[in-house]
């Protein structure tokens, strides 16, 4: 016997539990998986915060990826509460035991004055440019929108900063800040691929900006053409979501570490020497900071920079790209960062080694005691790199990269 729409609706209502928008709103976060089954164009106009999107026509194909547990609570909604009933029936047929439909749908949700998110809508060009990101479930248009709204700061537009600047730009990180006061030198071009032969003698921040915008005009570049010193670090790093440390002096690394911990900004750290590199991600208070790892800087003979010791050009390239990978994960909130792990790379052996790092309970910067002391306006004393390490100014051949101001 043929069934009418009214028959089907009645049948679905008798089989599927319905919940009101208020009941959904009152659920503790994460208690149920909320799925919007409307079309993409409707989702783009606004949706319930934290909801997933699977159009009703893709329920059978895609729901298992979002709700792998057949017995966990899943709540579906559409615009008015009908499509979600039928979609819930489909899921019940797939063996989902705890699937409900939100009555009155998104209209009812908005009518009740409940909060909703309006996703950033990518332009046609952006959908094409970032299509390989949009295809990855962990990124998708939401992740891409996050990247476009993100701000990453590169300390140094050199060997590590070059690949980082290019890949962050290609990935569509909306704002890239560059801290560098140097000019492009011919000897930089063996590894600093963001610059070009034609731009030798130009300011590095400007040269890098040209390359970034040639690759992706979506990106806003902020040029900080100054030395990172204790007096300006707080101002420079303010507002950035992640920092990539690619400097070549210990002094800058400690100054940056202390300020980033205080500001709560993750720092992706890399350093290179000849055929070797070290990489980790310092996530304030989740893992150790730079001072936990190296409480004091080494003496000059143990720590020559690239300008004295040399470096195989590809080593900062590889490390800079690994830094970018870490930064993208931090910005997207996906995966596992290197927080608490130090990755060593040996280019001669093509060998990666991982070491376990721990927070120093007595760290003068990131320990509980240090946080309290800072809050009380009397920060704990730290080893002053400048005073202890005058070699930074001479032996490493980096004269001019450290200001007198930074040495105090």
């Amino acid at each position: 016997m043929p069934k009418s729409y009214a028959d089907l609706l009645r049948e679905a209502r008798s089989q599927i539990r319905e919940v009101s928008p208020q009941e959904v709103d009152a659920l503790p976060p994460g208690a149920a998986t909320i799925v919007d089954v409307r079309e993409a164009s409707e989702w783009d106009q606004g949706h319930i915060p934290g909801a997933h999107h699977v159009s009703k026509s893709y329920i059978e194909q895609q729901i298992e990826a979002i709700a792998p547990d057949r017995d966990a609570e899943v709540i579906l909604y559409c615009a008015g509460g009908v499509r979600s009933l039928f979609a819930a029936q489909t899921m019940a047929g797939m063996g989902y035991t705890n699937v409900a439909s939100m009555s009155q749908g998104f209209q009812g949700w908005k009518g009740a004055g409940l909060p909703f998110d309006i996703p950033v809508v990518l332009t046609g060009d952006q959908k094409q440019r970032y299509s390989r990101h949009l295809l990855i479930p962990e990124v998708g248009s939401e992740g891409q929108a996050k990247l476009l709204a993100s701000k990453a700061l590169l300390i140094g537009a050199g060997g590590l900063g070059s690949p980082a600047a290019l890949y962050l730009a290609a990935a569509g990180v909306g704002t890239i800040g560059l801290v560098d006061f140097d000019v492009v030198d011919l000897s930089n071009l063996q590894r600093q691929i963001v610059h070009t032969t034609a731009r030798v003698g130009e300011r590095k921040v400007e040269s890098a900006r040209i390359a970034i915008n040639a690759l992706n005009p979506d990106v806003t570049v902020i040029e900080h053409e100054e030395m990172l010193v204790a007096a300006n670090v707080e101002r420079i790093i303010a507002g950035y979501d992640v920092i990539l440390d690619g400097t070549d002096t210990f002094e800058t690394r400690y100054i940056l570490n202390d300020a980033a911990v205080a500001a709560g900004i993750p720092v992706v750290h890399a350093s290179v020497f000849r055929f070797e590199g070290q990489l980790t991600t310092f996530v304030p208070f989740e893992g150790p900071c730079y001072r936990c790892l190296y409480p004091t800087p080494p003496p000059p003979e143990l720590a020559p920079g690239c300008s004295v010791a040399g470096v195989l050009g590809v080593v900062p390239g590889i490390l800079g790209m690994l830094q970018t990978n870490e930064a993208l994960k931090v910005l997207l909130g996906i995966g596992t960062t290197l927080a608490g792990r130090l990755l060593l790379f040996d280019a001669l052996e093509t060998e990666f080694t991982e070491l376990r790092l721990r927070r120093d309970p007595a760290c003068p910067v990131c320990s509980d005691e240090a946080v309290e002391a800072r809050a009380a306006g009397r920060p704990l004393a730290t080893t002053s790199v400048g005073a202890d390490a005058p070699f930074l100014l001479t032996t490493t051949g980096l004269a001019g990269t450290v200001s007198p101001e930074a040495r105090t």
Partner: protein, 90 residues
């Protein structure tokens, strides 16, 4: 015998070796044997009062000895000991 990995910045002090097999039941024993064989390393690994310098981290099988028993951390045959000074290059 433990295997001690020498970072490239220190290799000139040990005749260019990338790793050395060293006897010693503890990190102290290994470091002592190492600086006896290669006296040039002494000032780089140990402070004047005989402690490990704070700018050189020492790991046994991937774990920082500062969070184990420091110089008294036991070392077994076949353990991997890694000396790791800070690097600044960028």
């Amino acid at each position: 015998m433990s295997v001690v990995f020498i970072p490239s910045v220190l290799r000139a002090n040990v005749g260019g070796a990338k790793s050395l097999e060293i006897d010693g039941a503890s990190i102290r024993g290994v470091v002592d044997a190492l600086v006896t064989q290669h006296p040039a390393l002494k000032g780089q690994l140990l402070s004047e009062d005989g402690d490990l310098n704070r700018f050189v981290n020492v790991y046994v099988n991937g774990q920082d000895v500062r969070y184990l028993a420091g110089l008294d951390t036991p070392v077994a045959a076949g353990d991997e000991v890694r000396l790791l000074p800070a690097m600044a290059g960028g």
